[in-house]
């Protein structure tokens, strides 16, 4: 059966799954960011754990590898007192030929309450959300080129933390935008939260003209792209793009689009530099910048735990 409304929301407009930032109202995004602020302060307590998901089982289903994202989801679920089950899915049933929905049906029979899904196919988390029981919740932890909504939300949390107001800033996203689910989620979130200027910066093969349809300004010149920016989001240069002849070489890319101290000087003096990680030093970002005073790459990781706690507790508390 097809969903008649946004499958992420129940009939009261409350979030029951997090599949994509696209189509979520500003109020839902803002509420998650506010809730994340509460969870950030849990780190300051003697007991760094709250009982909201006590007795619930969270299954980490990573069909694609990602140590960092999986770990931060695991920490977030454990801080909420959930039981966390990590499945090495790539090496188990799927390898034996089991279909995605059969895997989900079996795990549901093990009383899963929430699935955290990373999958190489765009839309896989939607398919799962359509087939789970009403009390089961699904979080997209990255699907194909489509979306990585918790990364998008933690990026928004980071921006709000350092800049307070979304409506007065210029954000430059640099690198492989076309293949990046992070960039897509960021662009949707920034647009919904009212950022007046979003620039997509990179070579023509990785930043295509049709991105303008998303409301961003396409810049093939790095200098033009980051001049006067308040926020620079560097994306990881994925090595597989090099073999696809989309780029001449990593060295060429660094020369044109790598974020060096000289290029960073074109941005606002209080500009912050973000990166979803893992960073490739000397490929998309210079070490001096990654470790420099403008970099907020490590705070992003810390905020990511609080944001994932906020997402999981929000959806777990809403009924389908």
């Amino acid at each position: 059966m097809l969903f008649r409304r946004n499958p992420q929301l129940n009939k009261h407009g409350e979030l029951i799954h997090l599949l994509s930032i696209e189509g979520l109202p500003k109020a839902v995004l803002t509420q998650i960011l506010d809730t994340a602020g509460t969870f950030l302060s849990v780190n300051d307590r003697d007991v760094k754990k709250v009982p909201l998901l006590r007795g619930k089982s969270v299954f980490n289903l990573f069909f694609e590898n990602s140590t960092r994202t999986r770990t931060t989801f695991e920490i977030a679920a454990k801080r909420l007192s959930a039981d966390v089950i990590n499945l090495d899915i790539a090496r188990s049933s799927t390898a034996k030929g089991e279909s995605l929905l059969d895997t989900i049906a079996n795990l549901s029979a093990m009383h899963a309450d929430m699935f955290i899904v990373r999958h190489a196919e765009s839309g896989a988390p939607y398919l799962i959300a359509q087939h789970v029981a009403p009390h089961v919740h699904v979080v997209n932890a990255g699907d194909g080129r489509h979306a990585h909504p918790t990364q998008g939300l933690l990026d928004m949390y980071t921006i709000r933390h350092f800049k307070k107001d979304f409506t007065q800033i210029t954000v430059a996203i640099v690198g492989d935008i076309v293949h990046s689910r992070v960039a897509r989620s960021d662009i949707h979130a920034l647009t919904t939260l009212g950022v007046p200027e979003i620039r997509a910066v990179g070579p023509k093969t990785l930043v295509t003209g049709d991105l303008a349809a998303m409301g961003v300004r396409v810049c093939h010149s790095m200098e033009e792209g980051i001049r006067g920016a308040d926020i620079i989001i560097m994306l990881r240069l994925q090595n597989e793009r090099m073999s696809g002849a989309m780029l001449p070489s990593a060295g060429e890319f660094y020369k044109s689009y790598g974020l060096t101290p000289e290029k960073l000087a074109l941005a606002k003096p209080d500009c912050i530099v973000m990166h979803p990680g893992p960073i490739n030093r000397g490929v998309e970002i210079a070490s001096e910048v990654a470790d420099g005073s403008h970099s907020v790459i490590l705070p992003q990781v810390t905020f990511g735990i609080a944001v994932r706690m906020a997402v999981m507790s929000t959806i777990a508390g809403n009924q389908a």
């Binding site: 509420q31 506010d34 509460t38 307590r45 754990k49 508390g317």
Partner: protein, 174 residues
Amino acid sequence: MLELDAEALYGELRQGVKGLWRDGAALVGIWSGGAWLAERLQKDLGLPGGEQGHGVISSTLHRDDFGSRGLAAGTDPTRLPFDIDGRHILLIDDVLYTGRTIRAVVNELFDFGRPASVTLAVLVDRGGRELPVGAAFAAARLVLPAAQRLSLARADGGGFHFSVSPMSPMNEKA
């Protein structure tokens, strides 16, 4: 129609809190009504730590109705600007009803350390307890029907008044 003079009751609460105060104590107001009361008590009684010396505590992360009602939006997080260990905590709230909020905030408090004691003072104890919880001081004790919701409001100038409204399942909080 029930008439409760919140300002007069506040005067009595102030006297009651004075009576309960001891060396090494700290005020902690339960968000939101109790936090307003604690803020004003802190100032009016000239308590140590200055005007911001009181704590604010939220029940959100320990509520027992999370499974049915979800996470409360727009709640201030707990803020305790002092060490909890070994301190006498004087909890302040506007209305004591089922006792479930008190159970939740006591759990919240213990996430920050081990207080020497926890004492509760409220403006109004409206009966209807569902847990073994009591207030050491209540400026008024009365019994209200379950269908009525009693909540404290604060005017821009800082003055308090009570509002009574029909209880709906979605706004039940006590």
